[in-house]
Symmetry: C2
Subunit: 168 residues, 2 copies
């Protein structure tokens, strides 16, 4: 098994997204056990000017979806951001996993040097594929997935780092 653009993207995203879905399942069970509306968790934030849980999960999904598509030279599809329940967020995660699993290693041949153009604050910014994956997509993906976990830990959901890392 060689290091490749694929080995540091699709399987990494799939694993962490699966773990995130299970974490959300534990959050739903916690709300049920404590008899509060799980939507309370979805609106929680670590700071007033940080995104709430719902957005953290969505953005993690979108970095995974965006990276897979862009590294294959495609424009990522836009999906509605209408999720209002934990089950709907888990559905977005499942959809993301299904989408990115459609990209096998052959799709990313040459992706290191493929130009990826993002629009950042209204301006086009170009990256080589390798820098985009290593320094934009992966850090952002883990940033949002970890922040989702942190929100739920702060809210009292019984989780441990093993829930985040999973079995390796």
């Amino acid at each position: 098994m060689q290091a490749s653009m694929h080995s540091f993207s699709v399987p990494v995203f799939v694993k962490t997204l699966g773990n995130l879905s299970a974490i959300l399942g534990k959050a739903a069970a916690y709300a049920e056990q404590k008899k509060f509306d799980p939507a309370v968790l979805l609106a929680m934030r670590l700071a007033p000017d940080m995104f709430p849980l719902t957005m953290q999960v969505r953005i993690a999904c979108d970095f995974a979806k965006g990276a897979a598509a862009r590294l294959a030279g495609e424009e990522p599809p836009k999906w509605d951001d209408g999720e209002t329940t934990i089950a709907e967020l888990q559905e977005r995660i499942a959809r993301t996993i299904g989408f990115i699993e459609g990209f096998d290693a052959a799709r990313f041949v040459g992706a290191e040097s493929r130009t990826v153009t993002l629009t950042i604050r209204g301006e086009p910014v170009e990256y080589a594929g390798l820098a985009y994956l290593a320094h934009v997509a992966l850090p952002n993906f883990f940033f949002h997935a970890t922040t989702a976990y942190g929100i739920l830990r702060h809210a009292g959901v019984e989780l441990g780092k093993r829930d985040f890392i999973g079995k390796v």
Copy 2:
């Protein structure tokens, strides 16, 4: 530039560790401006059974140090965990950056299939180098670096995701 074990380890760790050091600098400035002891920040946690900021920074450093050494077939050096100030944590980060920058891409040739043995809860666990980097070292590194950021955001330090991601 080809995707390699090096391109998804040393430069990724160096960049995020540098950003983390700057984030800690902003935390120190915040404590000074608000006239509180910065050690308060170092002891903060997102949940009672999560590690405090000091440990989050140390562990992020140690996943970077451990990955670089192990992927090169070396045992990582053990460093004292005596930091009690922000400046000392920044010094650990600087030492980590210096250490891992000593590993160039040539040191990681064949690292994909090199067996990495960790001791987890007293038991030896073996990974192929590629799985270790993609599914253990990188996720854990970002988990702890992001949690350090989240603690400081929750504490009111003025930061944005750009401080975490940096310039790409």
